[in-house]
């Protein structure tokens, strides 16, 4: 088997991600519409911004897909002229990297709810890491800071874990993912009979 991603894998990942990029773009106004309510309610919906990574990974199931997907989705959002501007691109890179690292820790062998939820938490940690330096988050009062982190982690498990898993499962049911899976041993056995 050839090493790395084939053009097919890359294009499918990017197209899925750009579809999510459109969602990311719409999510921006929603996010800052919720934000002025205070108490970090907005953080509960933050997890949507990591979803491309896990959905793409669950569909393609190869190394590097989660990272590529998150970068592609954020650059799609960026090129559409996101309100957050340049931030989204760099956040996308860091979030994708952290999600990829979590998936890598499982050696790309597991495609279940636990792994994608953990990948979501990984991406959330990546985003918190960026916010810490960019947004002086350490200078929030302690209870407020904890609330922010808690809400963001919960949100990322809901969206990046449960929702992504739900979407991937529904896509499996449509049969479209069979296009992308390499022929398995059973397929060859079936031919040999």
């Amino acid at each position: 088997m050839k090493k790395g991603l084939k053009l097919t894998d890359i294009l499918v990942t990017i197209v899925i991600s750009i579809a999510f990029g459109i969602v990311y773009k719409i999510w921006g106004p929603l996010y800052y519409a919720v934000k002025p309510f205070g108490l970090h309610i907005d953080q509960l919906i933050y997890g949507m911004w990591f979803i491309a990574a896990t959905v793409a990974f669950l569909i393609i199931r190869k190394a590097g897909v989660a990272f590529l997907a998150e970068v592609a989705a954020s650059s799609g959002e960026f090129l559409m002229g996101s309100e957050f501007g340049l931030e989204v691109l760099l956040y996308g890179v860091v979030q994708g990297l952290f999600a990829e690292l979590v998936i890598m820790a499982f050696r790309y062998k597991r495609y279940d709810l636990l792994v994608v939820s953990l990948a979501g938490i990984g991406a959330a940690i990546g985003s918190i890491f960026m916010d810490y330096y960019k947004g002086y988050m350490g200078d929030l009062s302690t209870w407020n800071f904890m609330l922010l982190i808690g809400f963001r982690l919960i949100g990322s498990v809901i969206f990046t874990g449960f929702m992504a898993f739900g979407i991937a499962k529904a896509l499996e049911a449509t049969g479209v993912t069979n296009l992308l899976r390499p022929a398995s041993k059973e397929d060859y056995d079936a031919l040999n009979q």
Binding site: L7, P36, F84, L171
Partner: protein, 265 residues
């Protein structure tokens, strides 16, 4: 995505896209290290000059694009102003605790977010995605299979939106009803996103097979339809930021309008 409206081409459009992107990323990192409120405000003004006068779009449209900036500014400042740490209390009301330190820090963050938004939108308004990816293949040696996939993906965007409208119309014709409340919203999301995504994957797969057949993933001895190089405007662009960053630093030291030199403490 600037190819949908008409605009005047300015010198910002002629800058090498890879250089522009790298400069923007460098500025992003630079801005993280600005802790002086005065310098932050001056820096924001100098990016605003580029955005307002040199993107080549009519002022009405520039004004329209600026509306979200106001929301960004308000939403970024408020949580730091209300819940930030600090000693000199200005106002205390329930959980809200406004201090002088958190007030200045909040305003600083607002300007920082504004700078990022301005830089990003200036980039998006003055860069054609096709040139960006061609330039990245030539100057940054990005593998063609990634570049062409990105370009194909961007081209598919209008088709996806059309597809979305088809699905919505089909649902209307067939009388799809979803219940009210969260459950209904969830079903609506599922009934729309799954057909949309599955159709996207099918289409992407077909395009990818065609592209592989035409050797779009072949990287050795590749020639390019658009040849993108460097020119004088690249020097002007980098020079603009070098000179004005220096100037903002100098002015912030010599003529500060706020008595805050470091918002962190």
């Amino acid at each position: 995505m600037n190819n949908t409206f008409d605009f005047r081409e300015t010198w910002l459009h002629k800058i090498n896209p890879s250089l522009k992107l790298l400069t923007m990323i460098f500025l992003f990192i630079l801005v993280i290290f600005i802790h002086n409120l005065n310098q932050m405000i001056l820096f924001t003004i100098m990016t605003m000059i580029l955005f307002v006068f040199f993107t080549g779009h009519p002022y009405k449209r520039i004004l329209l694009f600026s509306i979200p900036f106001l929301f960004i500014f308000i939403s970024t400042t408020t949580s730091m102003i209300f819940f930030g740490k600090g000693d000199t209390t200005i106002l205390r009301w329930g959980l809200v605790h406004v201090t002088e330190e958190s007030l200045f820090r909040g305003i600083h963050l607002g300007f920082r977010a504004l700078t990022y938004a301005l830089l990003g939108l200036t980039f998006a308004l003055t860069t054609r995605p096709v040139y960006l990816f061609y330039s990245m293949m030539q100057q940054l040696k990005l593998n063609p299979k990634y570049s062409y996939s990105f370009m194909a993906g961007i081209r598919l965007m209008p088709i996806m939106i059309e597809e979305f409208q088809h699905i919505r119309s089909a649902q209307k014709v067939r009388g799809v009803r979803t219940g009210a409340g969260m459950n209904g919203l969830f079903h609506l999301f599922k009934f729309t996103s799954i057909p949309l995504l599955s159709q996207c994957i099918r289409r992407a797969f077909r395009i990818a097979v065609a592209m592989e057949a035409k050797r779009f993933d072949y990287s050795k001895e590749r020639t390019f339809y658009y040849k993108i190089g460097f020119s004088k405007v690249d020097v002007v662009f980098v020079g603009y930021f070098v000179v004005l960053t220096g100037l903002s630093f100098y002015l912030a030291q010599e003529f500060p309008f706020f008595p805050v030199t470091d918002v962190r403490d």
